[in-house]
Amino acid sequence: MRLMNIKPGRQARFVLAALPFVLLAAAYFTGSSMRLAENPNDKLLPALSSMTQAVKHMAFETDVRTGSILMLSDTLASLGRLLWALAISTSAALVLGIAIGLLPGANALLSPFVGVASMVPPLALLPILFIVMGLGENSKIALIVIGTLPCIIRDLTMRVLELPREQLIKAQTLGASTWQVALRVVLPQILPRLIDSLRLQLGPAWLFLIAAEAIASDSGLGYRIFLVRRYLSMDVIIPYVIWITLLAFLMDAALRLLQRKLFPWFASVRAE
């Protein structure tokens, strides 16, 4: 039988999915124990025990200097920035994407501008943001918004333009005004696609968040890993990276679930 026609069963799928994770962990711990056998003070590949110790210190004990639990306060600081930025991005993109997709005038006015703006490397704007908005929260949120907004706008514009022409005509023959078409036909059909778009932008959003925190910040997950980098504290960095990954993964899963629950009709439309 051809390789392309062999479909793994339920159990096989599970095993296959787990395999890369297991292999990675195995490779890590083999390397770690080899290095530690040679030099018990090695910091590059810390053992599980020292990472557990570090997590315990960071996540379950109050920091003497600040009086707070560091991992918790870092997480809250980062998530706050990220969620604010994504809320701004998605709401602005929703309005602009629908306007550009539905109104030829708005398209002529904004489409070229958004096309150019989306090509500006956001990180190159970071110094300008720091200069203009200071080193506080605003510049970090602004970076994430600038980094994600143009892509979401372009994606939503395309999704609006992809709606069948027949639907827009049909709505007009039912007497709909432009506003009503936007509200009752376009918006509800764009929302599930916005979730798709948002899921794809989660990666860039985290990237810009960590970058902004690494360069100038006094809290946050990105701040912490770049801070402890000075002491080669891999036992803190690795758990933090895993934690960040887990947070991003959970956000993605939550969005997917939200899409399925809120828009039960969408799966069959997408399948077409």
Binding site: W179, L183, V185
Partner: protein, 246 residues
Amino acid sequence: MSAIRFDNVWKEYGDHIVLERITLDVASRAFIALVGPSGCGKTTFLRMLLGEEAPTRGQILVDGVPLKPEPDADRGVVFQRYSVFPHLTVLQNVLLGRELQHSKVIGRLLGASKRKAVDEAMTLLAEVGLSGHETKYPASLSGGMQQRLALAQAIMRGPKILLLDEPFGALDPGIRADIHVLMKRLWNETELTVVMVTHDLSEAFRLATRVIAFERNRNRPEERERYGATVSRDLEIFPRRIPAPR
């Protein structure tokens, strides 16, 4: 309940002439079937009647008034596909026209006015044979049921003219026969003037009061661009079909 007049209408795309010298009078309450080979401008004709496209020359009059250059609630339409909204349930699809009509800002009816519209919609759904499917989404309906829904949705808004763009072309023969019966009944019960584009001749002769054929008179390759299609046959159906009196 509207007479339509085409007054020497031409449609050109750049140098390419699609339709030429279309002069037609459609009586109020007529059921017109437009037939012709593919690419003869049937759909272009319908799009002009919808207001989606404007004629290059000549004008289209409805009850003596020039047609508005955009679609409106006077002209309902059923396309072959994408006629119903996938994000609305069957009931919501039928309600939509009424909601758009009476709720300009939020596009939704609430309370007593909603209940009244729901009652109306349920009656209409029963009439087109979709009772019991109210809460389903269109994707879970068969093709024939989707077209019944599209008809109900268009009729709910009370258009004067109903435009049909190969509405039953994708349906199985048995289902098509059923929906023909429904279509005839709707035409009798409402005051619609119907214009239907079809490539199915038997359908045209079974439903219409008048069958109009479009054809290109000149078909040599070097002539194709510069000569459009025009009315080549205009057949009244005998014995005369007369809509039920109101």
